[in-house]
Symmetry: C2
Subunit: 414 residues, 2 copies
């Protein structure tokens, strides 16, 4: 990154811009940055041991896009990843996607930034890149570098997948507290990819449904319930090593993925109009938690562990088909996930209702142990399934963080 | 409104809930409310001379839904408007949609609030109701109350309308600074409508593209340009009376609409990938303003008036097909609009790009003088049209504000 950088702030003519941007935490408009300072940093470093956007405290908004690579040239794929790395690092600093910016340079040329984020602060933007199973076909000479676990996700019971909302060669997860900043990031990465990769599908999420840090409140999904209470959190270093980060001895073919993770994505439509007509007691029995506080039906508060042996009358307090029981680590060899899902509404459906639900994202060390068995148990038996229809599905290997001077995923190509 | 009200805040067990909710500005969680107090009120009164959500300083997020009435019974339509009025007033106070709430009452009954907004503050929520031309057919005995201007919008040049994204008997515009709050509002109004009206189409907007108050910065659309600079603003009382609010002598058939307005909605897809490849100078010539500051090409800053007689070399400084010229009040008998549009991204299109653009909303006193001619001029001649495709269109009459004890639009039925 030896290219000069122009802060978006400079476009506003603020005097502080002339002083330069000293670090990742010193960007953004004064007023917005000052407001954000009270609750946390406004910018996250793009480079580090792990990619940002996994354990980063879940931002409020999501724009995730999957891409198909449209060239068969390995060098062009590498050049795309180089260009994406540079642009992503700039944008997470609230700088324009390109070195010239949206309104500078030669007016006879197209700007190298699209401009809709002029003046907006970094807004906690993270950009996280992943590689889909199809990238490891015969186009780029990567077949022998494919981790065994990186396969197209199986068809789970009751899946109703739309191929146009599933899979992809590459993915870009942009999270930010301002959706305009997340959209700007994906849009500019798509622009940079022109001729090398094209958007296959794209999903906006308007509200986070998980906490990834103990500093965050637990949000609610569109069933009205708290979600992700038992999530692996950024502060649990040992649990992250055990359940989220790929380890040194996990897969001989995938040394390039050590320190990375797997992103499991599922677009789960909720039939919310039917759900809304269920009695409260049934809703709670389906989930296995109370709707108000989110405590397990066996008693206690939100963060108390469910007691699966407890009985109410002659029945288990947490029913045998309750969601919280079926996906609990106790029944899956202790496997936990780091969930990072978002609520979505994509217009209306053909039943006079909303096309709405949960865009589920989980980061796991191994989908074969930490996602597929749990998803199978849920799809087969979960009482919630009556109100769910999964319409999209994808798995990506997320390489580790990018060191100075490197591009994202570089170890895969060397 | 004699029913007891339960604040969403009460569910959190906060001591302040026991003190009751004294007024529209005293709701929400303490921390969020305190944070919001610095920048403005967190709740707007539902009742007043005009409906909220028109001149209200444009909130950051939109969820707008059009409904088809599914009953032919006029009394059921009236009962729906009564129920919607009560629920809307509650929700704009950060109270549950129903008097019982999401987790109280008889657990053997479905909750009368869906719960995903538990604990969230009012977030500046406004809910604005409108009536489409089709409501005035022969079903409800309203044919002779239809204002002459309330007709299905004409097919403009280059329109590519999707009927499933156009028109409707009723509309609900929910704006808030938290999208979860806006979605919650529309979803609960749809739930209440069950058996009486069903969602026809629904649109989320992630970022405002207009300011409706002089206290707000001018935001940017997905062309990267500032939008709505010359908007009618809340502070311009005389201009509002002249251009936005329906007056006493406007239409003999529509006395019920006096103090209301017309909502013109257009879903305008932008071919942003093509736009992004245009030279900066061309982008600016198409718009007629600079991209950075937003000043007219004839010179001056954002809020200086364009000089349409100015020349640069031998050409008009603001080209004859520039957007700012074609829609300027000078060429439309002085007509101005109050714009309230939002950027949207609805996944991807079939060209490897984003399904993105501007959900245009304008409030005008008379669409025949303040919208249709301007839209025709734009559709016929505007240089921007090469990058636009309008895929949805609707017109609604927005009744005036609701007085105490009344329901929204009551004058239409009495």
């Amino acid at each position: 990154m030896s290219t000069p950088r122009i802060s978006r702030r400079g476009l506003l003519g603020g005097g502080a811009a002339a002083a330069g941007v000293a670090g990742a935490f010193a960007v953004g408009r004064t007023t917005a940055a000052a407001a954000a300072d009270a609750s946390g940093p406004t910018a996250y470093a793009f480079r580090g041991e792990h990619q940002a956007g996994i354990v980063t405290p879940a931002q409020d908004r999501l724009h995730l896009a999957a891409f198909d690579v449209t060239t068969d040239d390995r060098d062009e794929l590498v050049s795309l990843l180089r260009d994406w790395t540079e642009a992503a690092e700039r944008m997470t600093r609230a700088e324009p996607a390109g070195v010239v910016g949206p309104v500078e340079g030669d007016p006879l040329l197209p700007p190298d930034d699209t401009g809709e984020a002029i003046g907006l602060p970094a807004s906690g933007l993270t950009i996280t890149f992943g590689f889909g199973p199809s990238l490891f076909d015969d186009r780029f000479g990567l077949a022998d570098r494919r981790p065994a676990a990186l396969r197209t996700l199986p068809h789970f019971p009751a899946d109703a997948l739309d191929p146009a909302r599933s899979n992809g060669d590459l993915c870009v997860q942009a999270c930010a507290d301002d959706p305009q900043v997340a959209v700007h990031a994906v849009r500019n990465l798509a622009r940079i990819a022109f001729g090398r990769a094209a958007v296959r599908w794209s999903q906006l999420g308007f509200g986070r449904t998980s906490s990834t840090s103990t500093t965050q409140d637990t949000p609610r999904n569109l069933f009205g319930f708290k979600d992700g209470t038992a999530n692996v959190k950024a502060e649990e270093t040992a649990a992250l090593a055990e359940h989220v980060w790929v380890g040194h001895n996990d897969d001989a073919a995938a040394a390039w993925l050590v320190g990375g993770s797997y992103l499991c994505a599922r677009r789960i439509n909720m039939t919310i109009e039917v759900w809304d007509r269920q009695p409260l007691v049934d809703q709670e029995l389906f989930v296995g938690r109370t709707k108000g506080e989110g405590g397990p039906l066996s008693g206690g508060g939100e963060f108390d562990e469910p007691d699966f042996d407890a009985v109410t009358g002659t029945s288990p307090s947490v029913p045998v088909d309750a969601h919280v029981r079926l996906v609990h680590p106790d029944f899956h060899g202790g496997a936990r996930m780091l969930r990072r899902g978002y609520n979505f509404v994509d217009g209306s459906d053909d039943r006079g209702g909303l096309n709405a639900g949960l865009f589920f994202i989980a980061y796991v060390r191994d989908p074969d142990t930490h996602f597929i068995p749990i998803q199978n148990a849920m799809a087969r038996s979960d009482a919630l399934m009556e109100y769910l229809k999964t319409t999209g599905s994808a798995l990506f290997a997320v390489p580790p963080g990018t060191a100075d001077g490197e591009y994202v995923g570089q170890a895969l190509f060397t």
